[in-house]
């Protein structure tokens, strides 16, 4: 590690330490109401108490299953529709602006309709998360397959590659980086929208527990839940970043 990156990391830790110190100091002196900001110790206590309860794990399980189902539907539909549209220039020109135009409207607006159609159980969250994540996945899939270099495709065909070989060795490697980008965006959108749906209106799950703790004015427990969500999101992000660089490096290798 060079000296510049070392001091950059020092500054990052410094900022986080100052924020933590400000949190501790402002609650210790009582300048902030405990309702808004409980002491770090109280949040830690609530957190360590929370993870020993069965209620915590069942809420996490509900949320994770909902996210998985929503993401699976969005992947299948998004990649399927995106690939089929990308096969013809005409279809791309006709449909891509419609999909992009719909995505410009925040899908969150339609959340009350999902509640109306699917009830306040997990069904509405699955449908909401899936339809939100569908758009970036479909749009990126179209972009990924439509922008494959035509002269590579023509070269593969003229060298006698079969349709499957062309798909496997030319189309997929060239589409992979953009495709993965769409899959990553789609995952985090389904993650956030399932959490959001649970917070807005539901009966179970992590988001519901955050809203519930807020309604009951149990701020230490609410902060404990929020801390859990933040840590999960940060770890998933690091994981996705690592995965993406590894896979797209592999994709690059296939070119050479």
């Amino acid at each position: 590690m060079s000296r510049t990156t070392l001091s950059a990391h020092l500054i990052q830790f410094g900022v986080i330490a100052i924020l933590g110190g400000a949190w501790y100091w402002s609650t210790a002196t009582g300048s902030v109401s405990k309702l808004f900001l409980p002491e770090p110790a109280a949040v830690w206590l609530a957190f360590s108490h929370l993870i020993t309860t069965g209620q915590f794990w069942s809420a996490v399980k509900v949320t994770l299953t909902t996210i998985a189902q929503a993401y699976a539907i969005a992947l299948l539909a998004g990649i399927g529709v995106g690939y089929l549209v990308s096969r013809s220039r005409f279809l791309i020109d006709v449909l891509e602006p419609i999909i992009a135009g719909l995505f410009a409207i925040p899908i969150t607006l339609f959340f009350p309709m999902f509640i109306l159609f699917f009830g306040i159980g997990t069904g509405s969250k699955i449908a909401y998360g899936a339809s939100y994540a569908f758009f970036p996945i479909a749009l990126n899939t179209i972009a990924a397959f439509a922008n494959a270099e035509t002269h590579f495709l023509r070269a593969a065909r003229s060298m006698g590659a079969s349709q499957w070989d062309t798909f496997r060795h030319v189309l997929i490697p060239s589409a992979l980086p953009v495709l993965l980008n769409g899959m990553r965006i789609g995952f985090f959108i389904s993650f956030a929208s399932v959490l959001g749906g649970e917070t807005l209106s539901s009966v179970a799950g992590v988001g519901r527990n955050i809203a519930l703790a807020a309604e009951l004015m149990e701020s230490a427990r609410m902060y404990a839940w929020i801390a859990f969500v933040v840590l999960t999101a940060v770890m998933l992000n690091l994981l996705a970043g690592g995965l993406e660089t590894r896979v797209s490096r592999g994709g690059d290798g296939a070119w050479r």
Binding site: L200, V230, V234
Partner: protein, 270 residues
């Protein structure tokens, strides 16, 4: 397909192709509306789905004459405008500060990206606790959503500003503002415009999430009321009005972008 490609060569062919694309798009949208109308009239349970014509009627009969709903819609538009203005102003300022040197980028940008990765919806109860049920909490939530993409776009663009240009401009005695206007802005413009568009998307998301979360006042109250009473026609009409507001704001951003890029291309080079 090969035929159409050959046809679309030349100016007339291109125009013909463009008009075919537009026709096909119009027919698809019309087909969806007609299908919804037929399905809504003949098969759907009226407690869950209403045909588009009924939704349009509900818009004129229920949404438009009700002063409480129109003022809630107006309030939402006001909140979006405020949150967006704050996002762009603070986002550009913070972005310029962080992006100004390679070291501050290295040290502070990861913290911004870390913030960006957090699903902010989990903080919504805090915003309501702190700012109350009124416009302030929605503006604040829209702002925290909108400011991050602007910062990311500005810092991302600043990476591409050649340090030599900035040093040259400074040594020729340009003021800070003039450097931003004539050296930095033309270089970060493409990235900045993407940020402006994304910021609008995120601001809309933040304001609408907060509006829906607060179910005792504003838009959230009415959506909750219509949904709980199984009255989908006015619910769809209300959602449609909000969607129109969202599209209007997106359109404004696009116009702003066009104005700015004209200014950018009009700027003297060097």
């Amino acid at each position: 397909m090969a035929m159409t490609v050959r046809l679309s060569e030349g100016r007339d062919g291109r125009l013909l192709y463009a008009s075919r694309v537009r026709w096909a798009r119009g027919i698809i949208i019309l087909a969806v509306v007609v299908a919804l109308e037929i399905y809504g009239r003949l098969f759907a349970d009226p407690a869950f789905l209403q045909p588009p014509s009924e939704v349009l009627r509900a818009w004129f009969v229920t949404v438009l004459p009700d002063g409480r709903i129109t003022s809630a819609l107006g309030m939402a538009a006001f909140e979006i405008a405020c949150a967006y203005a704050l996002s762009v102003t603070f986002g550009a300022a913070i972005g310029l500060a962080i992006g100004s040197t390679a070291f501050s980028r290295l040290a502070l940008f990861p913290l911004i990206l870390l913030l960006y990765a957090i699903p902010q919806i989990s903080f919504i109860p805090l915003f309501v606790l702190m700012f109350g049920l009124g416009a302030a909490s929605k503006i604040a939530f829209g702002f925290t959503h909108g400011v991050l993409p602007v910062i990311v776009a500005v810092v991302g663009g600043m990476k591409n500003v050649p340090a030599l240009y900035v040093r040259g401009a400074r040594s020729m005695g340009l003021s800070k503002l003039a450097i931003i206007r004539h050296v930095i802005f033309p270089n970060i413009a493409p990235s900045f415009f993407v940020g402006l568009r994304l910021a609008m998307t995120m601001t809309l998301l933040g304001v609408i999430l907060a509006e829906l979360y607060v179910s005792t006042a504003g838009i959230g109250f009415f959506t909750r009321m219509f949904a709980d009473n199984y009255n989908p026609a006015p619910l769809f009409a209300l959602i449609g009005s909000l969607a129109a507001i969202a599209l209007l704001f997106n359109g404004c951003v696009r116009i702003l972008e066009r104005q700015l890029s004209r200014m950018h291309s009009g700027a003297p080079a060097g």
